[in-house]
Each structure stands twice: as structure tokens, then as C-alpha cells.
Symmetry: C2
């Protein structure tokens, strides 16, 4: 019944023709900056990411911004938003003017994280058999997003990262993660040494991934609670920390520069996850 | 002997102060477009990529463009260039004006590929035991570059790609590959069906990677000559082709979007390469 649906959509959606309208302020220039004064809020782009956002009770949607010609294709998503969540509809011209660049995705959302978990809270909630990913100094949003995507693909139970790592809820990281940053539970806090201490207390075998690792990912035998620790491509993990942990390497050519950290995370997670059958 | 080195550099380097100088034309606006009228030429960025370029006899350097304050750190590379290769030196202002954006890397080069190999030539030259990567419709330069990087890390012997795949010698693909696009032999030609036919004639076991693959990468037993076939993330490989080939999957969550194709290449190559010890 397209006419009924059309009527419902028209009632639900707020049409905005002025790119300067204050209601659109959170969406302004999202390419150049992230949300100012974010307070747990973030920008989610695209239908796939929106689906993840809507499916996770730990996040709320504050508003939607939809290209007018994409409205009918997004009826299901709009219907899943609580009635008090404003749904704004704009033309292509207004959309591009707001975003500050040609915005190919037809939908943006402002989301909000209820309350960040602490690493201890996350670890307390994990099952007996679990796989954690731990990041130190990952400051590139592409890498952060890719690592989340891989963590979701191999069903890692959580991600912990030190405070020098970048925010997984930055727009680009969410986009590259294909929504995994809104799916895999994470905590970002303190120093890597503190995080390692908490994991050890929780009974995790911690494997630090490094080109100079003593075991390979194919010979290592991960236990029931396994944590995979990843550092930056350039500097790697702090030497003093490495000496206290088991280290694993991805066996590869000696003649070529090491792998990208996100690719390395995928290779090691594939091997360490329950899916490899090891 | 810094003074002697300084004198040598001063003689070797051509200082240019005018961003409009015609000798810099190949470097103009490299962000927005690649080289016009390329004829096998390409832009290489950064010291690491330049080192790969200089080490490969299949490529020549046509000219170098170096930031003035990076000259002394690049003495070795400049010394490796034939004496008739012009080395231009510019200020930061001129460099950014030429490139069309803040160019963080201190060195650019125009390189040239001697003559492209055909797939048949490449295959004829391979050893009895070899690993090939075959690409169908990979049109994203980031993915292309990452796949080359992974192919180099796991010492794949060559890359073959159909003509719908993008050019690995595009500036961004070379940069993301960390130079691997200038290291791993490749051929780009014709249809994927033709490439598969040539591989079969050359005795390759072809494994098509797909989320619906019948075997997993952990149960498959690659033979002496193994080819890993990768398609796009969205459409994947042509169904008619898949039905004629062995298919393998990376075992992973059913609840999440599949992996990025470059990450998938890394996971499968790690497993299929000689380094995994399988």
C-alpha cells in the first residue's frame, strides 16, 4: 500500500530546505571535524552502520538526516527509531552544503553512547572462554575501524585500548568498521601496562604480536582466555612490556616491510578465533 | 667529510624556485589526477618506495623532486640514480604549490616501467613451486595497494588481474603498497576467464576465495602451484566461474558483514604461503 506508507512517511519526516537551519548543526562539516562538544555523541553514515546502531541497546539515535530520494528505501530504519527522534529530509544540494563535500551516502545519524564501560566492567562480564583484542597507540582512524571490523568478523568478545589510541567512535573509524565500532564492546582508558595488568588478573593469556615474536601464530596454542595485543606499525609495543609477555609473529618474508597493523590483526584473529578450528 | 658531500650534492641537484617551471609539470596536482599521457610512467612517493624503485631493474627513474631540507638524508638514493636523471630541489612552499596539497613526504619520483609483461610471459617464468594471486574487478586503489603489500609480505610470485581491475601503478596504489607494486611482477589484461584458462594450462590449482567457499583455508591443502583468486567485496566472483573452480572460505562469524578484500587476501595468503609451514 504505497499511498498509506507515503502518508506515514510525510507525517514522520521533517523537511528542511535551509542548509543553515540550526537543527542541522550537528551534521555540519563532518568531513573536516567531528562533532564539537561530543559528550559521547557520534556521526553514523550509511544504512549498514545505521542498522548496527539501531540493533544495539547501548546506543541511542538522537536524529536522522536523510536524502529526500532515499526516504522510501529507509522506511524500515525510520520505523525503528522512537517517535521522538527527529527525522530530517533534505535535497542533494542541501546535503552536500551541510556535509561540506559530496555526500554519497543517503543517510547520516547522530548517535549517543549511553555510558562508557570501564575495562574492568567489560572483563568481569566475559564468559570463561573468550578472546580479547588489546591496542596500544593505534592513532589512525582507518586502522582502528579495520581492526574493529576484523574483531567483529572473528567474534572477539571485546576491545581494550590505551588512552593514546584514537576514539573508535570517530566518524571515519565507525564507517571503516562497517558499524563494528558500535557492536563490539570496548573500553579506552589509561596506560597499556594497566590494561595488561587487568587482563592478567582476569586470567588471560596475552600474546603480543610483533615481527620479532618468539612463537608463530601457527605454533602458538591459545588458551581459553586469550588476548591479542597490537601496537603501532612504526614503534611497535614498549620493549619493557614485550619482555614480560608471550610474543607471537606472523611468519613472513624477511625481505619486505611488515604488514599493515589492521591486516595483521585480521590474520592473527583468524588463527586465534574459534573459527579456525585450532 | 660533510663539506665534500655538500659540494657533490650542490653539483648534482637542480634548484627550482618557480612552481610554474615546466620541468616540474609531471608532478603537478598529483593528488587530483595521475600523470597525464602516462605511457608506463608513474609517481612514486617517499623514501621507502623510492628504494624499491631503485632496486628493480624493470623500472627506470626519470626524475626526482626533493624537498630542500631532505636532501642530505637522501644522499644515498640520489647517488643510486644515473647521472643523467635530473634531481630537482624545491622549498616547502614550492612543493605544496606543485603537489596541490601539503605534501608531507619529502621526495617524489617519476618512474617508468620498461615494458609490461603478459600473463603468459609471467607464468612461463615461474618456478615449479609457486604462489600466484589473481584479481577480478578490484577497482579501489587502496585495496589494490594493500593486496600488493600482502603479496610481497608472503612472497607471492606474481599477481595477475583482469582489465576491469585498476592500475597498480596509480600513485595511491603504489603508496599504499609501500612499494610492493614495483616489486611483485604483475600482468593486467583481458578477462578473468582468460587468466584462469592460462593458469590451468600452467598447472595451477586455483582456489577462489568466497564467503560461500566449500572448503576452509584451514582444511584446504594447496599444491605445488597454487593460485588464490579474489573478487570484489560487493559482487564477488562470477557464479559461472566459481562453479568450475575449487572454492575456499575464511571461516568467520555469520552475524557480521564479510571482511575487506585486502584483509581477506592477507589472511588467505598467510595460510597458503610457504611461511605457514602447512
Amino acid at each position: 500500500m504505497p499511498s498509506k506508507e507515503q502518508g506515514w512517511l510525510e507525517q514522520r519526516v521533517i523537511r528542511i530546505d535551509d542548509a543553515e537551519d540550526m537543527r542541522l548543526a550537528p551534521y555540519r562539516n563532518v568531513r573536516e571535524r567531528d562533532l564539537v562538544g561530543r559528550e559521547g555523541r557520534f556521526i553514523a553514515e550509511g544504512k549498514v552502520v545505521l542498522n548496527v546502531l539501531l540493533a544495539n541497546a547501548g546506543f541511542a539515535v538522537e536524529s536522522l538526516l536523510v536524502l529526500e530520494n532515499r526516504l522510501t528505501g529507509l522506511t524500515g530504519q525510520i520505523g525503528l527509531c522512537p517517535a521522538d527522534v527527529p527525522v530530517y529530509s533534505v535535497s542533494r544540494t542541501v546535503m552536500d552544503a551541510i556535509a561540506g563535500f559530496p555526500m554519497h551516502r543517503g543517510i547520516l545519524a547522530v548517535g549517543r553512547r549511553s555510558a562508557p564501560c570501564s575495562a574492568s566492567q567489560l572483563l568481569d562480564a566475559l564468559p570463561e572462554k573468550s578472546l580479547a583484542v588489546v591496542l596500544c597507540g593505534i592513532s589512525n582512524h582507518d586502522n582502528m575501524g579495520s581492526i574493529f571490523r576484523n574483531a567483529a568478523a572473528f567474534e572477539a568478545d571485546c576491545l581494550l585500548m590505551d588512552e593514546t589510541s584514537c576514539d573508535p567512535l570517530y566518524r571515519k573509524a565507525i564507517r571503516v568498521s562497517v558499524g563494528a565500532a558500535l557492536k563490539v564492546p570496548f573500553a579506552r582508558e589509561g596506560s597499556i601496562e594497566d590494561l595488561v595488568g587487568k587482563l592478567q588478573q582476569a586470567g588471560f593469556d596475552i600474546y603480543a604480536l610483533s615481527p620479532s615474536g618468539r612463537e608463530t601464530i601457527y605454533t602458538a596454542q591459545p588458551g581459553a582466555r586469550t588476548a591479542l595485543l597490537l601496537g603501532t606499525e612504526g614503534e611497535g609495543l614498549p620493549k619493557a612490556l614485550m619482555q614480560k609477555l608471550r610474543t607471537v609473529r606472523i611468519p613472513m618474508s624477511q625481505a619486505f616491510d611488515s604488514l599493515n597493523v589492521a591486516t595483521a590483526s585480521g590474520i592473527a584473529l583468524s588463527r586465534f578465533s574459534r573459527f579456525s578450528g585450532v
